[in-house]
């Protein structure tokens, strides 16, 4: 299996280390031609505005949308989740709009509010140790979207999804690629 990581900006190398540990081939994707050669795509953590802008000027938005609509499995983490989403609360920025959710950027606050914690995930026996860095959460989910994990906001006690699945699209607010836990990447390989 050939897995590509969108390599415009962000921690794509850490994702490729994970997929190689799982025995898959991993390549960096910067062009539509490289996109054609892969079986699944990872959109890494990074700055979603920078990734979106570069994807737009280098003509990657439509080819990626096309591949995802044709059933290619995709995993987006943090900025990757924002890039996959249909819309963003209070910002206008380039997005793929293939995942039927509205995300809220920097939902937990600024860097001093970034944190790590154990997170229960539907379908996994043991919790995932999740690292949230200036992370988004999901503000609104569409009907076809399954919520696999949520956080409870202190104060309002409202639940906000931080890990969702819609068909072969997986998206997390947190960064499995910054830990040694390969289970989320295994899920990507299984949905295909």
């Amino acid at each position: 299996m050939m897995i590509g990581a969108l390599a415009l900006q962000g921690d794509f190398r850490e994702h490729l280390v994970m997929v190689r540990r799982l025995g898959a081939e991993g390549i960096e994707v910067r062009t539509p031609e490289e996109l054609d050669s892969i079986d699944a795509l990872i959109i890494p953590g990074g700055e979603s505005t920078a990734i979106g802008r570069l994807a737009t000027i280098y003509g990657l938005i439509e080819p990626i949308q096309q591949r995802i609509n044709d059933g290619m499995p995709v995993l987006g983490t943090c900025a990757g989740m924002i890039f996959l989403a249909a819309a963003t609360v209070s910002y206008e920025q380039p997005q793929l709009r293939v995942l039927d959710v509205v995300v809220e950027r920097n939902a937990f606050g600024r860097q001093v509010d970034s944190f790590e914690a154990d997170l229960d995930v539907c379908g996994l026996d043991d919790p995932v140790h999740a690292v949230f860095i200036r992370a988004p959460w999901i503000h609104k989910v569409g009907a076809e979207v399954d919520v696999l994990a949520s956080v409870v906001e202190p104060g309002s006690m409202q639940e906000h999804p931080v890990f969702v699945r819609q068909g072969r699209i997986l998206a997390t607010s947190f960064h499995p690629e910054l830990t040694d836990d390969t289970r989320i990447h295994e899920l990507l390989m299984e949905v295909g």
Binding site: R53, V112, V131, A149
Partner: protein
């Protein structure tokens, strides 16, 4: 998940933000308008300042932390991370910047140092980036709690020569550690004046335990791609953007060259018609007291 069981300000969380900035450009800005131009151009973060390094050089005198009102306005204006500089050793400036909500503090030789001791960065929730000319300096800063390293270069000169020297030195010293016998590592740590445990880790992994960006003198897309090909994880551009003829165009070009740093045809394309680059200074003409890189070793 109940968020009360969560931990903030850990090493992983601090280093993690730097991981997210990789392959990107961090731009010096002095007001909201410049910050918006930087964000629009695809900067991964901005450095909020009162003056860019070239102006600090020209102005002379004691250079201090920026006015908090400038920092706060920029924090409110953009969605990307905001960094700000404190003087070396000035932990109260760092406390003030943390209270303003900045996302990273640069304990920077561009400002006037106040102490031979650097800030004890483990005491903060906000992460720090520090400059280094060689591996010993980098490991001393990491030992003090820095979560990200950058080359010092020679700030405000528009001349990338010093950043190149610093990156080559760092690479050479890291390579050397990987071929040493295990019982030679203590002597190597002594020579580098660096913590032994960090020296031992690098001998095993062959890389720094934190992200390492280029900084100091980057003025063109080709400068940025040069530093990326030398193995930097990303670049800081200080005076090079807003001291040039057409900042928005140059900012976009440097962002693209940083992503496609191995593609000479793309670098050529983005380098066309950028207008005037900042006027440079030849570093060898600087008197010793004006060399910022020799501050805070």
């Amino acid at each position: 998940m109940n968020m009360s069981a969560s931990e903030r300000g850990t090493g992983l969380v601090k280093r993690g933000l730097a991981e997210m900035l990789k392959g990107g450009v961090i731009m010096d800005v002095v007001n909201v308008e410049q910050a918006r131009i930087a964000e629009e151009a695809g900067a991964v973060a901005v450095m909020a300042l009162e003056r860019v390094p070239a102006d600090i050089r020209a102005h002379g005198g004691v250079a201090r932390m920026a006015d908090p009102s400038i920092v706060s306005q920029i924090v409110d204006a953009v969605s990307i991370p905001v960094m700000a500089k404190s003087r070396i050793g000035h932990f109260v400036e760092a406390q003030v910047l943390e209270s303003l909500g900045v996302d990273y503090i640069d304990e920077s030789e561009v400002l006037s140092p106040v102490d031979d001791n650097h800030i004890d960065k483990w005491n903060f929730t906000v992460p720090f980036v520090c400059g280094a000319k060689d591996l010993g300096e980098a490991l001393r800063r990491i030992g003090e709690g820095a979560a990200m390293i950058r080359t010092k270069g020679e700030p405000g000169t528009g001349n990338v020569i010093e950043a190149v020297k610093h990156m080559r030195m760092m690479n050479k010293q890291i390579r050397r550690l990987t071929v040493l016998d295990e019982n030679e590592l203590m002597a190597a740590a002594k020579e580098l004046q660096a913590p032994f445990t960090l020296v031992k880790d690098i001998a095993e992994t062959g890389q720094l335990p934190v992200v390492n960006f280029a900084a100091g003198g980057i003025a063109t897309p080709a400068d940025s791609a040069l530093m990326m090909q030398l193995g930097c994880d990303g670049v800081f551009v200080g005076s090079g953007i807003f001291k040039s003829g057409d900042p928005a165009v140059r900012a976009r070009a440097i962002v693209e060259a940083t992503t496609f740093y191995q593609d000479a045809a793309k670098i050529a394309k983005v380098s066309r018609n950028l207008g005037e680059a900042m006027v440079g200074i030849n570093v060898e003409t600087l008197p010793p007291e004006e060399r910022m890189q020799d501050r805070g070793l």
